[in-house]
């Protein structure tokens, strides 16, 4: 009699305890790669074994490698038509280039984002952005000789930023830039777009419990194994503390900040987000702008666009997009939010 009671009691104990401990069946794994998109890719995932995680993360990195090769504007690859090929000149004109569907789809998305952001996100700004890129590279390698790109050069380049000169033939899968002095720079959109495509591929396979972080473009795939949300900390630029602490699942968080990429000229910092009107680093008084929305490509485009907009115009833009919320951090550290931001803040 006593033994029976004891065994029932023990069974109950194990049952209750087992329920509490069951979410520990899977281990949280992390891995990094610095090979693609000129940034750090972090993959976090819950799996039963290191082997399972290694297999899944390799599959993810293989996808990123493909997108990296296609979307790169700096690297050419043998036998592959990529964004470099689209930008190249043959006999003084841009040839019509047959490209992978992944490029066509990304450029169509970029065109859509150009409209949505009222031209603040413009992949046809390549000539302007490449001037800044060249001067920044020189200035970082050799701070003594750092200088700003001359305004007359910038203004000349700005004449060749009309996105309607980017002609996309979906049927034949070709791109033609009809202005020979125009160049595409997909830096503000390709990373986020690629992250979204990889996340969608994972979702299609039924994968959950993963987070991708590609140079500040965070995309969560499913929730954690115990059903709880992922916590995303948006760090202070000096790494001292978190300026925001969010709880999200199946969502993207993207931050654009003046501290992410910059160089000094005469002791003054010049960051990489260029205002289309002034052709200079955007100065709207922000340290950073963060966006939460489903689509990582959208988040990437919106965070850049908001950085180039006044608070009032930015608020109007974010309110016009269903399911998107934003946080602005002013240069003095003051934070302001769109109306629905609070629902993602960790309580």
């Amino acid at each position: 009699m006593k033994q029976r009671f004891l065994s029932i009691a023990l069974a109950l104990c194990l049952f209750v305890c087992g329920g509490a401990c069951s979410s520990q069946e899977k281990t949280k794994y992390n891995t990094y790669s610095m090979d693609y998109f000129d940034t750090v890719i972090t993959i976090t995932g819950y799996e039963k074994s290191q082997g399972d995680f290694d297999k899944q993360s390799k599959e993810i990195l293989d996808m990123f490698e493909d997108y990296h090769r296609l979307y790169s504007i700096y690297h050419r690859f043998d036998g592959l038509n990529n964004m470099c090929t689209v930008n190249q000149l043959t006999d003084g004109v841009h040839p019509t280039v047959k490209v992978d569907k992944a490029i066509i789809d990304m450029l169509l998305f970029a065109k859509k984002m150009h409209t949505v952001t009222n031209g603040k996100l413009n992949v046809a700004m390549g000539s302007v952005l490449s001037l800044w890129h060249d001067y920044r590279t020189v200035g970082k390698d050799n701070p003594q000789n750092a200088s700003l790109p001359p305004m007359d050069k910038l203004q000349e380049a700005a004449k060749h930023t009309d996105i309607s000169k980017m002609v996309i033939d979906e049927e034949n899968s070709t791109v033609t830039l009809t202005d020979p002095l125009m160049k595409l720079d997909v830096g503000a959109i390709a990373k986020g777009y690629a992250v979204e495509q990889v996340a969608l591929a994972l979702e299609k396979k039924g994968v959950t419990g993963y987070v991708l972080n590609v140079g500040g473009n965070v995309r969560t795939v499913g929730s954690k194994p115990d059903g709880s949300d992922w916590s995303v900390g948006i760090e202070n630029p000096d790494g001292s503390d978190y300026i925001a602490y969010l709880n999200v699942s199946d969502m993207s968080v993207v931050t654009s900040g003046s501290y992410q990429r910059y160089y000094y000229v005469d002791g003054k910092p010049y960051h990489h987000i260029i205002q289309p009107e002034t052709l200079m680093p955007a100065q709207n008084g922000y340290l950073s702008v963060s966006v939460v929305c489903k689509d990582s490509g959208m988040g990437d485009a919106l965070s850049t666009a908001l950085f180039c907009l006044s608070k009032q115009d930015g608020l109007a833009l974010i309110n016009s997009i269903a399911g998107a919320e934003a946080m602005w951090v002013a240069e003095d550290g003051t934070k302001s939010y769109s109306s629905g931001w609070n629902k993602y803040v960790k309580k």
Partner: protein
């Protein structure tokens, strides 16, 4: 005789019930403790060359590859509330042979790779991702 036997069985039964109730209470509170306090407990902080690399909860099983530059790697494992270095590319291997740490203030140091892992108690949970 018969009466006595019945009495003793009854007594046994009462003791059993008290025992079971006590066990159940312990189990329930144990489970509650795990549910409620598992996130608020200790964390390990990893620094590389003096800079914060990451903060990880000790209440979760985690495997973290710490890349320290020049192809060097330390694999930190957190299992059953304890943290230890599973593998490392350092020549001395001192960090790998260090016993698992879990008490506040304990640390594992990898001098060649400039990695320091310290157990700390923090008010805020460590986020899953940091941007």
């Amino acid at each position: 005789m018969i009466n006595m036997k019945i009495d003793s069985t009854k007594k046994h039964n009462r003791n059993d019930i008290i025992f079971i109730v006590a066990l159940l209470l312990i189990a329930t509170f144990g489970a509650l403790y795990l549910f409620v306090f598992r996130d608020g407990g200790n964390t390990v902080k990893v620094t590389v060359d003096g800079k914060t690399y990451g903060v990880y909860s000790l209440n979760e099983n985690i495997t973290e590859d710490i890349h320290t530059g020049n192809g060097n790697l330390n694999r930190l494992v957190i299992r059953d509330g304890k943290a230890y270095m599973e593998t490392a590319t350092c020549p001395d291997g001192i960090c790998v042979s260090h016993k698992p740490i879990f008490r506040d203030g304990e640390s594992i140091v990898c001098l060649p790779n400039k990695v320091v892992v310290t157990v700390t108690t923090t008010d805020t949970d460590s986020p899953d991702v940091v941007i």
